[in-house]
Symmetry: C2
Subunit: 217 residues, 2 copies
């Protein structure tokens, strides 16, 4: 149906479209795919031809209904495979993204649905991201970050916004995973660093950027 590149572009555009009030420009897509903007302009042309996206110089790139539907299906496959790799094959959560990045492109009409059933219809992937259902419906994503909390609040880690190995390994070192309980003790007003307690243990200080990449419940 689609080429590997087309699918990666669709997924990247979808991901960017999740940031509210964000204009999806060729440069933004290029950064997200680590591609050259010139290459992106070519692909924008191709996907526009195929009626998967619309490009308005003022409003940026937008997925058409068809493009959106198919982008969501790719995300569905990605996240289902991530669950499989972690739950069934015993990978750690910082190893699964890159492999799922390849597995998501396996095209077979019933594969995703069979995998979904085999895994017990999981609602969230190992990073806490919602797994779109076969009909395209998406469980509510988490939206409050650790950085949004008030001093004294306690929360449960629900998801991570950044799935890079370096971030996930840092979390591992801090003993933070999905479900971990965190209490915000203090916000350093100088640079918005956060002083937190992890699972009731000793205090740690993390950066604002760190806090913005943790979604909580």
């Amino acid at each position: 149906m689609y080429t590997l590149s087309e699918e990666n572009y669709l997924k990247s555009i979808y991901r960017l479209s999740q940031q509210p009030n964000f204009k999806i420009t060729p440069t933004a897509i290029a950064e997200s795919l680590k591609n050259n903007p010139a290459s992106v302009v070519d692909m924008i042309r191709k996907l526009t031809e195929k009626q998967l996206i619309e490009y308005d110089k003022k409003k940026g790139v937008k997925l058409t209904p068809v493009g959106l539907k198919d982008a969501v299906l790719i995300v569905r496959r990605h996240r289902l495979w991530e669950v499989f790799l972690l739950e069934k094959l015993g990978y750690h959560w910082d190893e699964i993204h890159d492999i799922a990045e390849e597995l998501e492109h396996i095209s077979d009409a019933t594969l995703a649905d069979r995998l979904d059933k085999f895994l017990g219809f999981p609602e969230y992937d190992p990073h806490g991201d919602p797994i779109p259902k076969a009909n395209g419906k998406i469980p509510k994503p988490y939206s409050v970050t650790l950085a949004d909390l008030k001093t004294g609040d306690t929360c449960r880690v629900a998801a991570v916004k950044d799935t890079s190995s370096s971030f996930l390994q840092y979390l591992q070192k801090l003993d933070i995973g999905i479900g971990t309980s965190i209490k915000l003790l203090e916000k350093i007003s100088y640079d918005n660093s956060l002083v937190i307690t992890i699972n009731g243990k000793e205090n740690t200080t993390v950066s604002q950027k760190f806090g913005e990449n943790i979604l909580v419940d």
Copy 2:
């Protein structure tokens, strides 16, 4: 490591090398991959450069030790994924080959071994083909075909040589699968057609070609 095409060529050359006394020519590879011989000549050059094969106009194409090792690993991945698709996701044996044809190219250092473990270290794939071990050792493949039997012999279906949908669906219709018991009642001397009893039920006549594609125990 390798491109998709390189891997498909390696695997195809390996498969052809399994036929004893068969000279692996550009034309043979082209047929097996449904490619043009001119394209094959290009790839032979490339794989020779990379020291994965040797090409002697007299002896044809041969895998080098490195090429053989890696071809076997691709076959290993293919057959493990086939087991997964059948056993865990409930596909039928005529649906799995094409999907495994894509899955076999997923490159991750530990994926095959984890999958192997998850599946309980199966020795044979759903078509009865031996699954190479992580160290490259290959369980003994079956070699006697239904057409090799003498009149009156009874056997167990161990593997199929042809994994095309049309052949497998024909088998399905005849109620033949791995493990089915078959008795050879008569060999028609005119065209070597075979009269057989399947699982002790009514008689059926099949062609010589059919018999040559069933490996028995």
